[in-house]
């Protein structure tokens, strides 16, 4: 964040109110210097005893006792309360002692923790100022990398001295702790850094197992690998609706009212991931891992074997216990340790409870970006208050970041409450625009077609009735068809019969006609014979008579 760390050989001032993490920051810097650069550091504790500091730092995985044997040295510098004050004193002797100690140890780093405690004892702002100058000169002359911590906002009039201190040091880091909606938030800000570019904004701070974590400013450029590999969303029907499944490394948001089986979908996703042999992290907020597994087993989603096999890691957090930042830090360390390929966060909206909305929003988006940077396929659930998809999940404004957005809702019709699943968006892939009914059966969640009738989506009993009706109609249609076919068959036979009869008629008529034709010829012959005969009888001219007759 400070574009390279604290200034070497210079002085950094850490300012902040009580409990904002000054000592931890200073000690952590020192520990890092010792651990990573094999340098030696000196920690001068004006405020707390070494024992206290070491005990407090024991919650972090720094291995402090080991370091203390070799390269990290503490110096007790508290004035015991029964020391009597009589007149002015100065730091000349102390600095001489520190130099001697430094020479003895070869220390490059020095932390002066809570120097204000000592300076306050001077009871004289002018004297304090003088000693601060003395300190500055000494630090400059000795070229040590120094961190000085000082309190602010303690209501003391002399506080102005420490404001003045900002001018004499090279780098000023302000730490702040404030309460927002009952949750304490830690913030860090670099107020000044001579000779270095720095991010001037205020950044959230959290405390995890590795100490203090500063939320880095989000890189302005997003670089996520885009995979074309598809992974199952849990069950086939949903994959089909998504055009083949979710993209590897994508984020899926499932929104819906409480009880719309968001967790069931998430569980199904986790189970499918485990069955593919992928390490999966299941993060649940405000619900224990055991009840989740029990509940999911009622719909045949079995996570316990995967948990035992070490493929699945369940982490359940109580949201109110810490701030959103601390949740993020915890998840970060979980991801680092477990290296999951798939991840479930159920429900992400819970972190909105852990403090102010703005902070939770930032955490939510950072969480998603972080997960995507790791290439983890993530399945996020979020509770929304209304049933209107346009308002849902916008509490955390996750919906714009998520690649796929599945919405679950209730449809209440004719005394039933049925679950409906819609895919609102799925980037870069075909997806079904249809509403499906989500049915939770003993064998697992199933998606069923829904019917639309008169602009209404039918589900549950209505869908069943509709299906029944459709079946009835089909039967009817089939019966009607059969009937018609039979009718047609009958009439075909009938027609054939009629054709046969007509053909018979035809044959008969033809033969009759033939018969008639022969008869006629015979008659013609006989009649001409008769004429001849007649003529012969009458004695007329047969030729002439016959010729004129033929010509007619």
């Amino acid at each position: 964040m400070s574009h390279g760390g604290l200034p070497r050989g210079r002085t950094t001032l850490l300012k902040g109110g009580p409990g904002c993490g000054k000592t931890v920051f200073a000690l952590q810097s020192l520990v890092n210097a010792v651990r990573l650069r094999r340098e030696t550091g000196l920690f001068v504790a004006f405020e707390e005893s070494t024992r206290q500091i070491v005990a407090n730092a024991a919650t972090f995985d720094w291995g402090l006792p080991g370091l203390m044997k070799r390269r990290l040295f503490f110096l007790e510098a508290q004035l015991s309360p029964d020391v009597v004050h009589s007149g002015e004193f100065d730091l000349g002797g102390m600095l001489a002692m520190l130099r001697a100690k430094r020479d003895e140890l070869g220390a490059r780093w020095i932390v002066l923790d809570g120097i204000d405690v000592l300076l306050t004892l001077l009871h004289d702002p002018a004297a304090e100022l003088r000693e601060i100058y003395r300190l500055r000169d000494w630090l400059a002359a000795n070229e040590m990398t120094a961190i000085i911590t000082a309190k602010t906002g303690t209501g003391r009039a002399e506080v102005i001295n420490y404001d003045f201190m900002e001018f004499m040091v090279d780098c000023v880091v302000r730490l702040e702790r404030r309460l927002e909606q009952g949750v304490s938030l830690h913030r860090l800000q670099i107020a000044k850094y001579r000779g270095s570019d720095f991010e001037a904004g205020e950044f959230p701070l959290s405390f995890g197992a590795s100490g203090m974590e500063v939320a880095p400013p989000e890189p302005p450029e997003i670089r996520h690998p885009a995979s074309l590999e598809r992974v199952s969303a849990g069950f086939e029907r949903l994959d089909k609706m998504l055009g083949g499944g979710l993209f590897r490394g994508s984020s899926t948001l499932v929104t819906g009212l409480p009880g719309t089986s968001k967790t069931t979908l998430a569980g199904k996703f986790a189970e499918a991931a485990c069955e593919r042999g992928e390490r999966t992290l299941f993060v649940s907020f405000d619900e224990g891992a055991e009840p989740i597994m029990r509940n999911l087993s009622s719909v045949s989603i079995r996570l316990r074997p995967h948990l035992k096999a070490g493929l699945l890691r369940m982490y359940s957090a109580r949201t109110e216990s810490t701030g959103a930042e601390d949740h993020l830090a915890k998840l970060k360390s979980l991801i680092r340790d477990f290296r999951p390929r798939c991840m479930v966060i159920d429900p992400l909206s819970a972190i909105a409870k852990a403090g102010a909305l703005d902070a939770a929003r930032a955490v939510a988006s950072r969480l998603i970006y972080m997960v995507k940077d790791e290439g983890i396929t993530v399945f996020i659930t979020a509770i929304n208050d209304g049933d209107d998809p346009s308002t849902e999940a916008t509490d955390l404004q996750v919906s714009t970041i998520a690649d796929t957005w599945i919405h679950l809702s209730y449809m209440i019709r004719s005394g039933e409450r049925n679950r409906a699943l819609t895919i609102i968006k799925s980037r870069g892939t075909w997806h079904s625009n249809q509403v499906r009914e989500l049915i939770l059966g003993a064998t697992g969640p199933v998606l069923a077609d829904v019917y639309t009738a008169g602009g209404e989506v039918l589900m549950g009993t209505l869908r069943w009735e509709k299906e029944d009706e459709e079946r009835g109609k089909t039967l009817q249609r089939r019966a009607a068809f059969d009937h018609k076919r039979r009718e047609l068959q009958v009439s075909e036979t009938d027609t054939r019969a009629r054709i046969k009869a007509l053909q018979n008629d035809l044959a008969r008529q033809r033969s009759e006609l033939d018969l008639y034709s022969t008869d006629n010829d015979a008659r013609i012959v006989s009649s001409s014979e008769r004429e001849k005969e007649l003529r012969r009888i009458r004695g007329g001219d047969p030729l002439k008579r016959n010729g004129s007759r033929n010509g007619a």
Partner: protein
């Protein structure tokens, strides 16, 4: 109080720093006035033997330590507030 016993004192100073010089002068006055020679005083220059001062738990200069008789006491500052010094050292007139 322990009138008869010898007071063992150590004064830690930073060479000739103004406060240190003042402390030396102030202590000399007090000793002269109240202790009448029944004391042993060791003056340690922290700039010369810083590690010893560190080992003795000295933080700032000037500092006055009462080693014996018990109870031990520690006074920080240039000892200009005489009454508090006398009280801390357990000296009574």
């Amino acid at each position: 109080m322990a009138r008869s016993k010898t007071l063992v004192l150590r004064l830690y100073i930073a060479r000739d720093a103004p406060n240190s010089a003042r402390a030396v002068a102030n202590l000399a006055e007090i000793c002269k006035e109240y202790l009448h020679g029944r004391f042993k005083l060791e003056i340690i220059d922290v700039l010369e033997s810083p590690l010893r001062a560190l080992a003795d738990g000295i933080l700032v200069t000037p500092s006055l330590a009462k080693i014996s008789p018990s109870p031990a006491a520690r006074i920080v500052g240039n000892l200009s507030d005489r009454s508090s010094v006398i009280h801390a050292l357990g000296i009574k007139e």
